[in-house]
Amino acid sequence: MQQTEAIIKARNLKKSFGENTIIKNVSFDLMKEENLVIMGKSGTGKSVLIKCIIGLLVPDEGELSVMDYNLMDIDADQLNELRRTVGYLFQGGALYDSMTVERNLKFPLRRFPDAPSESEIDELVDEVLENVELAHTKHKMPSELSGGMKKRIALARTLIMKPKIMLYDEPTTGLDVITSNEISDLILEMRKKYNISSIIITHDISCVDKTADRIIILDKGEVLNEGSFDEIRKSNDNTIRAYFESV
């Protein structure tokens, strides 16, 4: 990567829930147009970390800035502004189950301060549904979709906003090999098309291999290691080797 400008900057973040300290001390940068993969055991606080980035949770200590916004001290209007440029794919999809796929996709767009016209929105919907190859589900309810389809619709719902930053929480987990490859390709394609910078949380090694420019391994609330796919892969640390054993 040529770019050196950091779009997300995190320094010495700490987050506890009551007595339970989940994130002890985490620092990292996300560069412009970079794909940063975060790996780590279940329950180490990966989701908690990216929820801090989108302002769903507030870190207890440390510094966190996303673009020009200081997340440690941000008011509701600024936060809303920021959120319109950051896409978040929830681990469970979080589709609105009382709305059709189409309305799910239109929901945020219609409520933008400078909302596109209804016909532009229609075009956008068709475009992103094409992208995730689910055009035929437009009028279905989420309950009628399979798990993988839900995930892809959720992905479409975030991509329709043309975000500058994407936070993917396990985009390929629970999908078959072919679909998860397609998703990995889509992540790359979206970056190429819209110059998106992304943080990708995943356990899926083939997804890591395909998408990662850089990898961070989280363990017990701290950064255990950082580097490119090949660097990390050669690590002597047993915990880290375990992730790559299957490859």
């Binding site: 769903l56 959120r83 978040y88 929830f90 979080a94």
Partner: protein, 282 residues
């Protein structure tokens, strides 16, 4: 359950009670603890309400969602509220008939019943059934949206879940309850008429004419204001419980259940306050 197991269970219960007594958990303490928790809960609901009031005038206003919610919340409880009011009107008349007729005042029944229905029974029955049917529904719906991160997904997309979900629902319950009260009043009268005409020769026209003629604005308006407040409380409490549901299916169930318990209690509190205010003005 086998008798033996049942015995085991009761000794277990005895044991728990003894343990609690040893910890000096007297009834007073338990009651105080419960009251404290209740007040804390009420405190956060008040907080939530203030946040709600701040949002109510901030655009965008979700008209379509509001109308949809009014329609569904009204429609959902129409049958139960109707039947219950009808039965209560009937029972109330049958109960008072013997006493009234022994005093020779049975002709007062239509007016007496109509005033009690309009002032008290209609709003109370409507609100309690509405809390059970619609309040619990809102608690469960928002609760499950909360635990499946749909509410977070709305905030994250830069929209305001408070406007879309809460303002529309609370608006809907506040509008729906007074409308349903009018309907419940009418069916209460009808029930009363059927009970009454089995004892006395009376036409429906005459009965309704008598019943309605005594109801003035001074009865009706406070009753509708009170009903709107019941509706507001039900919507607010249920939305709060939903938004604060804890993880898992249990959390959703608890949100629904607590919505009903707290709003039913609040209904009586509001009723008490309103009767004081009312008597102050009259």
């Amino acid at each position: 359950m086998t008798p033996q197991k049942c015995g085991e269970n009761s000794t277990q219960i005895k044991f728990i009670i003894l343990e609690k007594l040893e910890k000096k958990e007297t009834i007073q303490k338990i009651l105080i603890g419960q009251a404290k928790q209740y007040l804390e809960n009420t405190g956060s609901i008040v907080n939530f309400t203030l946040r709600f009031l701040k949002n109510i005038f901030s655009p965008p206003f979700e008209w379509r969602e509001l109308l949809k919610q009014v329609y569904f919340s009204g429609y959902k409880s129409l049958f139960f509220i109707g039947t219950t009011s009808f039965i209560v009107g009937m029972v109330f008349t049958m109960q008072s008939y013997p006493t009234m007729s022994s005093l020779g005042t049975e002709s007062w029944i239509p007016t007496m019943i109509s005033l009690s229905i309009v002032r008290e029974i209609g709003p109370l029955i409507t609100a309690l059934i509405f809390a059970g049917k619609v309040g619990s529904g809102i608690g469960a719906e928002l609760g499950s949206m909360k635990v499946t991160e749909q509410i977070d997904a709305m905030s994250v997309s830069g929209t305001k879940p408070m406007n879309f979900l809460v303002v529309s629902r609370v608006g809907a319950t506040t509008i729906a309850v007074p409308l349903l009260v009018l309907y419940a009043d009418a069916l209460g009268f009808l029930g009363s008429y059927f009970a009454f005409q089995s004892k006395e020769e009376i036409t429906m026209y005459f009965f309704f004419n008598q019943a309605i003629s005594v109801v003035t604005y001074v009865d009706l308006i406070p009753s509708l204001i009170k009903s709107a407040m019941f509706g507001f409380a039900i919507g607010m409490v249920a939305s709060y419980q939903g938004f604060h549901a804890e993880q898992g299916t249990q959390g959703v169930g608890r949100a629904a259940n607590t919505s009903v318990v707290i709003s039913s209690f609040l209904i009586f509190v509001i009723d008490l306050i309103m009767v004081q205010i009312n008597s102050f003005f009259l």
